[in-house]
């Protein structure tokens, strides 16, 4: 059966579409080689979540980074939607991506403040991440820590990385991480705990 021909919608009609319908509409416009018809739908999708993403990023990041991270999250989520990845509900996916980008922001910076106390205290692995920001750790300490984290992280599969992104780096609760990843709360605790232990083991050589 021939697919229905693409029909350009008015602003009022587009505003009534769900996220998935907007994405399907953009896809339809591109398939029909009418990219200009997709522009407004794309603008609605971006505008609709922009403030929320920036605000949520602002809970975890310095103000100077919030818009950048929100933009990257939007781009990645929309890219996934068009690359055929299974993303489920767009809004949930968008927020999962945002959490990952927040964690990447911290992992990409050597002075990852909340992780510094790991080396100096707390054998109890739920506490080893500590509380205090630090920018004056001994020379090389942060570099060693960063390498240990990257090493431990590189050993994980995609599913466990998602858990570590959210539960360890973005500081989601176990329940929230469960909601975003589908892992049970018990698994989330275990994955987080094992990751911390592994980082500690690497640091101790």
């Amino acid at each position: 059966m021939e697919p229905s021909p693409f029909r350009e919608l008015s602003e009022q009609e587009l505003a009534l579409l769900t996220d998935d319908e907007l994405i399907a509409y953009i896809r339809g416009a591109r398939t029909a080689r009418r990219p200009s018809a997709a522009t407004l739908a794309l603008q609605m999708l971006v505008f609709g979540y922009w403030d929320t993403l920036v605000a949520r990023a602002g809970l975890k990041l310095p103000v100077s980074a919030t818009e950048d991270v929100a933009a990257i999250a939007l781009e990645s989520a929309i890219k996934s939607a068009f690359d055929g990845e299974s993303i489920g509900e767009f809004r949930s996916w968008l927020h999962t991506i945002l959490a990952r980008k927040i964690s990447e922001y911290y992992r990409s910076r050597e002075g990852k403040p909340k992780l510094v106390p790991l080396i100096s205290e707390n054998a109890d692995d739920e506490q080893v991440w500590g509380e205090e920001p630090s920018v004056d750790a001994p020379d090389g300490t942060l570099v060693d820590l960063r390498r240990a984290i990257e090493h431990a992280y590189s050993e994980l599969g995609a599913g466990h990385r998602a858990v570590v992104d959210l539960y360890v780096f973005a500081e989601y609760s176990a329940g929230e991480t469960t909601g975003a990843t589908g892992e049970s709360e018990n698994n989330v605790h275990q994955i987080g705990s094992r990751f911390r232990k592994r980082v500690k083991a690497i640091l101790e050589g």
Binding site: R27, R33, P35, F47, Y49, D51, G58, A71, D83
Partner: protein
């Protein structure tokens, strides 16, 4: 109502009125209830529905720039580069000419900065296939703008699904000139690139290979 609940309610009222309340200020004000408020704000924002369309508000919002970049990206064959690269350059507070100069120097191609600039111009406009750009170029570019080569590669590699690919020729031609940038483009460098494209790989120099010869 607890202090955290009270602050959340005031935050939600301001947010839903289209304002941008300062969450950090509220978190400070929450005192010992800060963790509860932070968790409540997370939940509130995560569950917030898509904001109703407001064309006037959009026009004055940073979201307009993001949407514009994505729109260009969707219409190009260069994945997310048309959206990502200009933003990374802005974040690094670099004019394009300065970035190109540094990129050319990193690649040991100072004498061919115009050609490097023309290729970079094509990257920003999604006109250069990511699979042709070498890891060396992406590594150098990533160092300049503060992003990993892997992220740049992944961003450039998306085709946005089977229906995408470059725009039809007239639109691609428009994309090339849609955002004229006096600092780049250089007609002579463009012509040199076009000529090498027509003449084939045997006519390529090192800069052509770096930008079109593949990842290695």
């Amino acid at each position: 109502m607890s202090r955290a609940e009270d602050l959340l309610a005031s935050y939600a009222a301001a947010f839903e009125a289209g304002r941008a309340p300062d969450a950090q200020e509220l978190l400070e004000a929450a005192g010992p209830e800060r963790p509860q408020l932070e968790a409540a704000l997370e939940r509130y924002l995560r569950d917030a529905p898509r904001r109703a369309w407001d064309g006037a508000a959009f026009a004055g919002s940073p979201a307009a720039g993001v949407a514009d970049g994505l729109d260009k990206a969707l219409g190009s064959g260069g994945g997310l580069w048309p959206s990502l690269l200009p933003r990374l350059r802005a974040r690094a507070e670099l004019r394009r000419a300065d970035l190109v100069g540094r990129l050319a120097a990193s690649l040991g191609a100072q004498s061919q900065a115009a050609k490097v600039g023309a290729y970079y111009h094509q990257m920003e406009h999604g006109l250069l296939p990511a699979e042709g750009v070498s890891d060396r170029v992406l590594g150098a570019l990533g160092s300049i703008v503060g992003e990993s080569a892997r992220t740049l590669r992944e961003a450039g590699s998306s085709t946005f699904g089977e229906a995408s690919g470059p725009l039809p020729a007239p639109a691609a031609a428009f994309a090339r000139t849609a955002a004229p940038d006096a600092s780049y483009s250089d007609p002579a460098a463009d012509a040199a690139i076009d000529a090498s494209r027509e003449e084939g790989e045997q006519s390529w120099d090192e800069v052509d290979r770096l930008f079109r010869g593949g990842p290695e």
